[in-house]
Structure formats: C-alpha cells, structure tokens
Amino acid sequence: MLDASDSYVTEDGRTIGAVVMEMKNITLRFGGVVAIKDISFDIREGEIRAIIGPNGAGKSSMLNVISGFYNPQEGQVFYKGKQRPQMRPYQVARQGIARTFQNIALFEGMTVLDNIMTGRLHHTKANIWQQAFWKGKAEAEEVANREVVEKIIDFLEIQSIRKTPVGRLPYGLKKRVELARALAAEPSILLLDEPMAGMNVEEKEDMSRFILDVNDEFGTTIALIEHDMGVVMDLSDRVVVMDYGQKIGDGTPDEVRNNQAVIDAYLGVAHD
C-alpha cells in the first residue's frame, strides 16, 4: 500500500507523484435525497483518474463538489495538502482546477480564439485602465497569452477554425474547443465530464489520444467521468466506481474489473 507522499512509476514509464487532492468522507444531500454518501478517495499528481458508475450514481455531483459548484454537507476536501475552505467556483478555478462540461458550455457568441483566450484569465494581471488604453501590461499580456493559446490550438489541431464563431461548429469540434479552453488555464488538475459522450469511434479515438497526450506532455493530472468502459480501462491509472451515491470499488482497472460489487452494479444481481 502506498503512502500519500509516495510516488511510483507506471508500466509505460510515467511517474505518478504524491496525492494532490483528497476527498474525505464527502456527503452531499439535496433535501432528503442523498446524492453522495460518505465517499473518500484521492487523486495523485500526474495520474489519469476515472470515476465511473451507472446513471444517477452521483459522478457528476462528485465533480461538482471538486470544482466548487456544490458544497458538501459533511466531509473535507484537501488540495495540495491543505484543507480547502468553502469556495465559490471562480475561486476554485483560480487555484488551478479547470473543467469541461457534460453538455458543452462554450460561449456561443464568441470566436474559438476568444473562447480559448478566456481560459487565460488568471494569467492576466492588467487592470481595467491599462486595458482601456491598451497600454502597459495589457498589450504585452495579450500577446503572451496568444502565444500560449496558439500552442494549444496547434496541439489540438484546430488551427483552421481559429476565427470561426463557436456557434457554427459541429459537436465534435466544440468538445475539442472546450478542452482547449480548459487547457489554456494551465491547470494542475483537469476535470473532464464525459469528454466522449455522443462521439463516433474516430472522434473517440482522437479525444483519447488528446487526453493521453495532455497527460504525457504537460504532466496534467486528469480526473474524468466516462461511460465507455473500453476507453476508461485503457486510459486510466486508477478507477473509482460509484453506485447510488456510494463508493463500491477503487483501484487499477484490472482490480475494478474483477470486483464482484462492480460486476453486480453493472450487470445486475439475480434475485433469490
């Protein structure tokens, strides 16, 4: 068993570091409905951590707790070794946690470039006066941000749609732009809520490749929710399985695959 500060090397040669985020005994209720019940798990630096489970298991709620949308009634969130106080989502974003949404949440009226540039918000220090006269920090930062954004645009192969309004793009590309916007923030943890929902096989392959490349090249820690089991088992280092708001399994893909509770949850149990 590993300690929180231990690191190890995976079979494919990536180094997985210490625990960067730890959820301790999280319970989330909506009135009488218990969405998440006493769940604990951790995310290690540099790993791809998947959260899976049947519909309504509480996966998205869990992601919303991490990104600050919901505040759990019980339990604590530890981030980089410190307990995180109750925060608004924009404060969580400022700490270096970026996310994408299950149903795309892009800014439809803006171009692809502007959407991705918005992700650079926290790397912009120019105040409103400097921006009003386009002097001082404002212009220099705009150019510096643009350079970072262009690298991400190259990386995700969306050069040709740079100046297209997002509303005109097809679904698969929108998903990619949303990933680009999250990446532009240079997050330490990237949360992906069903990045492959509604995609065909080729689009899924592309997206899988991007996720692996992001993890490999930028060393970004990734937590993702996904329904496609093949993808999850191939991509992730460790998997949390949820069902009816409870954690029923946690471990490497192989361990999870052979866990009887997980099999029961997915395939159902015979009634005696």
């Binding site: 949404f101 803006m110 918005t118 918000l121 912009t124 120019a126 921006q131 404002a138 705009e142 999250a182």
Partner: protein, 358 residues
Amino acid sequence: MFYREAGDFKTSYREDNQTFPIKFDRYRYYSVMFAAFAVVPFLINDYWVNAIFLPFLIYSIAAIGLNILTGYCGQVSLGTGGFMAVGAYGCYKLMTAFPEVSILIHVILAGGVTGMVCVLFGLPSLRIKGFYLAVATLAAQFFLVWLFNRVPWFYNYSASGQINAPERTIFGIAVTGPNTQAWATYLFCLVIVTVCALVARNLTRGMQGRQWMAIRDMDIAAEIIGVNPLKAKISAFAVSGFFVGIAGALLFAVYLGAAEAGDSFGITKSFLVLFMIIIGGLGSIFGSFAGAAFLVLLPVFLKNVLVGWLGWPTDMAAHLEFIIVGALIVIFLIAEPHGLAQLWRVAKEKLRLWPFPH
C-alpha cells in the same frame, strides 16, 4: 477585388490583434477620421450640426455605453434616460459650482458620477436576470427623473425647474451656451466620441470584454473558468454608466442648452437608445454608430422627403413619420434581427470573394 485578405500576411500577434486587420478597412477608417476631423468642420452650418451631427455623435456615445451593458454583458437596462439625466444634472452642478474648471473635466466627472449611480442600480443584477432586471432598471429611470424634478437643489432652485447651460470655453472658444459656433461644438463632441469609441473598443477586445461576453453567453461556464460574476457585472454597469453619463452631459450642455428631467430624459430616451443598439447590432461598437445614425437620420430624411419634395403639410408629415419609422423598425428586425452590424459583416464577407460566388 480590392477588398481582400489574400497577400495581407500578419507576422506578429500584435498585428493580428489590431482593430482593422484588413488593409482596406484600415485605410477606409483613416479616411473617415480624416474627413471627420479635417473636412467636415469647414463645410457644416448650424442646421447640419443641430439636426444631424450633434445628435448622431452624442447618441453614439450613449449607444456605446448601453451596448457594453446589454450587448456585451447581457444585462438589459431600461434606465438609460435616467442615467443620462444623472450625467446632465451632474455636469450642471459641477459647471455652476466650479466655473473656473474646464468643461472637459466636468463632462468626464459627470460620467464618473453616473458610473457610480449605475453601479448602485446594477446591484440587483447579481440576483435577477432578463426581464426582471429590465424592470428593476425601469425603477431607476422613474426614480431618477422624479428625484431631479422634486429636489430643487439639483436645479439650483431656479423658478422654472429647468437647468440652463452657462457659457464655457475650451482654448477660448465657446462650446456651451448661446454663442457657440457650429464647428466648435461639433469638434468638441467628435473628440469625445473618438476617445470613447477607442476606449470601448480596447475594453471589449481584451480580457475585460471576454469576461463580459462570457457572462452574457453562459454565466455558469464563465464562473467555472474563473470569471468573478460580481466584478464582471459591476464593471459593466460602471463603464456603461460612464459613457451614458458623458452622453447625457453633452446632450444637455452642448446640444440642448437647457433641459428638464421629465421632458429631456424620460422613458422615451431609454427606448430610443435601446432601439439604436438593437437595430445597430448588439455586441458591436460599429453597430452603436450605425444604430444611432439610422435613428437620427431617418426622421430627418423622411421629413425632407415628405415636406420638402412632396409638399405635404408639416403636421401630417410629422405623424406619418412616426408610422413609417415604426414600420421600418419592425420590418428591419424581421429581415435582419442581428442588426446593421450583421449586414455589414455579411457584406464584407461577400466582398472578400467578389466577383466570385464562392
């Protein structure tokens, strides 16, 4: 043919970021600026300035202000008339209290005061959206007009309840009061419009503008990538109020010369400016100018046609004018709901390929 990007290569992000990235656009802009500053002042007379240029320039500033709030940040406001009144009365109080200070500083300060008042009435926007916010700003409109009519301190206890702009000069040339020259008032407004438009353009193309647009397009997603909704909305109200206040101050001091809150800054002003940005194009600086031009020029144009060419009686022409302007607005909104700015964009896209269809 002449309007194209091909061959117009950008070698730095700075070049790509400029307001008019296409060379032809840039020269068109320079020539318009040259004409506005160096040619028009020598040609115009009182009629042109009072009927067309001053209202166009002043309403352009108001439209830019409202466009920042409504078009860029998505917060509907029906309080523009009231906020213009704040600018006008603020400017009047400053002009009469500190007669030795330059009028330019008074106008800018009036904008600042309006910005603060606008923020105050914008605070409900943190909890309410859409129609409900529109009604809340409507309350601002009625409250402010009531305030300026009922509290004599605002109109310096004058018997008529009106405010009158005293004569003020810049470089020794009168820009307010009864003895102004047409070209002087025109240039004074033009300089302020130019600076306002540049500032608005810089704010909307940079990170501040992206924050506003993010709030407009999807506030939840905006918050998740780190936009502080409180700061973004409040800053939009402040900047918008600043421009609207400047427009109100100029309307009173330079254009009208005398004003009374209910008559000059009533609810019709709010709707007029709102129509301007809807017809011109929401979320576009060019659209603010286009909308202001449309609604200022159309009545003048119709009047000239009906009375001047067709020889109809003035009162009938005035009534027909209302009907025609209203009908045109409706037809226009059905044909091009995204406004004149969208027509302009489509025209430019077509021009890029012309004379080829694809």
